[in-house]
């Protein structure tokens, strides 16, 4: 019997190695796998590369992980936002590397990694600082920039419903980067608000089929970090 449901956060986080590239789902607070991030803090892996839309806010979650000196490099579209104090301190001190990627290119680079596309040409960022040093080419009358696939060793995501095969649904705009990152990592770990019986999810409405998911841990809504 396939059963990807694990019993707790510690079991979910087992084996994440130092030096890993971690894809962190969510957009703002929505769809952010808070308990898995706390689990990663607890688990101890260091020298991490983090791929996420933002660079953390406040002093908890991703910001806490950075404050502990565990993040070597962050790849994101929107590092500086209200409350991104830890990132800004570290960045000014030269203690964290930053790669800024346009949000759509970030999503597409991970989609490429999941879909077996080594690299692709896109008009986004052509002629801007973010295309500096990158190969460009005119295709179909438009100058385009070559961007490479971006995969992770681990993806940490938040789902709404899951079954034991690892099939996932999301809630509303909580789908965001989660469904993309699930396809782009060697080890995909999902926290979910609900675990349902196999067969309970509508096969027409499963967003992430279990093929992309390795471990699922139940974290009901009530246990969401305030």
């Amino acid at each position: 019997m396939i059963d990807k449901i694990v019993r707790g956060i510690a079991e979910a986080m087992a084996g994440i190695a130092d030096g890993s590239t971690i894809l962190l789902g969510g957009f703002g607070a929505v769809g952010q796998p808070d308990q898995l991030i706390d689990g990663l803090i607890e688990q101890g892996a260091r020298d991490l590369t983090i791929v996420a839309n933002n660079a953390g806010t406040g002093r908890t979650g991703l910001a806490r992980l950075m404050e502990l000196g565990r993040v070597r490099r962050i790849i994101c579209s929107f590092p500086r936002s209200v409350g991104s104090v830890v990132f800004e301190e570290l960045y000014r001190a030269g203690r964290i590397e930053l790669e800024i990627v346009p949000q759509g290119t970030l999503a597409e680079r991970m989609r490429a990694a999941g879909a077996g596309i080594g690299a692709f040409f896109t008009p986004t960022a052509y002629g801007t600082l973010l295309a500096r040093g990158k190969e460009t080419r005119e295709i179909g009358g438009r100058p385009q920039v070559l961007e490479y696939a971006l995969g992770g060793d681990v993806a940490l995501i938040e789902a709404w419903q899951a079954d034991r095969w690892g099939n996932l649904t999301y809630r509303k705009s909580g789908r965001n980067f989660n469904a993309v990152m699930a396809t782009a990592a060697t080890l995909t770990i999902a926290q979910t608000h609900h675990v349902v019986d196999l067969g309970a999810l509508d096969p027409e409405a499963i967003v992430t089929p279990g093929i992309y998911v390795d471990r699922v841990v139940l974290v009901p809504y009530g246990e969401r970090r305030a």
């Binding site: 957009f27 703002g28 607070a29 929505v30 769809g31 579209s77 929107f78 590092p79 500086r80 936002s81 990132f87 800004e88 960045y91 930053l98 800024i100 990627v101 346009p102 949000q103 759509g104 290119t105 999503a107 597409e108 991970m110 989609r111 896109t122 008009p123 986004t124 960022a125 052509y126 002629g127 801007t128 600082l129 973010l130 709404w160 999301y170 809630r171 509303k172 705009s173 909580g174 789908r175 965001n176 980067f177 989660n178 469904a179 993309v180 967003v207």
Partner: protein, 214 residues
């Protein structure tokens, strides 16, 4: 005659009036977000938010807020009947694939050739936040900019050539400011509309680029 400049709600309303029914539209963070308030629900315009929401409705009353339903500005929203959720790659496929009829963005500078600068104020700003602006600017069928005509210091935001780092080349089609509505044409800025009482010379004095008048 007294010169009045358009207020932000008036600017948003002025732009909103130009959006026909049936368009798919992304509204940038800031003043552009206000545009939605000036499109009546019965004129069906489909608003997209790049975090995977197509068919955004108005903000909910506070007791009906769903924490999983926000727009790209992280504000609570609703979904209209006919709306749909997609993931980030699919959402940006819509944007980058040229499926949006319109994107409304704010700007630091718009050049007379349509170049847009709206994300960083210096090449030395080493950690600026780009978000989805480059994707939207490069991918949308039309980019309209909604912004104040000048900076707080009185410097024109319409320029001959952008001095700030670019978001995309030659993408802006139209600019709505507190003073005027201007098209970006082959010949540069062409004024379509002036704030009430404002003279052409007064506008020209506040604009750091040549103006044509339609």
């Amino acid at each position: 005659m007294d010169t009045t400049t358009w207020s932000r709600p008036q600017m948003a309303a002025r732009l909103a009036a130009d959006i026909p029914e049936g368009w798919y539209v992304n509204l940038g963070i800031g003043i552009p977000t206000m545009v939605a308030d000036h499109v009546p629900l019965e004129r069906e315009v489909v608003f997209q938010s790049e975090n995977g929401v197509l068919g955004m409705g108005p903000a909910p009353p506070s007791e009906q807020i769903d924490p999983w339903l926000i727009n790209a500005g992280k504000q609570p929203i609703t979904l209209r009947q006919g709306g749909a959720f997609v993931h980030h790659a699919d959402s940006f496929a819509m944007i980058r694939g040229g499926h949006l009829d319109l994107c409304v963005l704010g700007a630091f500078e718009v050049a007379q050739n349509g170049d847009l600068a709206n994300w960083a104020t210096s090449e030395n700003d080493t950690a600026p936040a780009i978000g989805g602006a480059m994707d939207l600017a490069a991918g949308s069928r039309r980019v309209w900019v909604l912004m104040e005509h000048t900076t707080k210091e009185g410097r024109s935001k319409l320029v001959r050539r952008c001095s700030y780092p670019l978001t995309a080349l030659g993408c802006v089609r139209r600019v709505y400011t507190n003073l005027a509505v201007l098209d970006v044409t082959e010949d540069g800025f062409t004024v379509l509309d002036l704030a009430p009482g404002l003279t052409r010379d007064e506008l020209a004095a506040k604009t750091d680029a040549p103006l044509h008048f339609a």
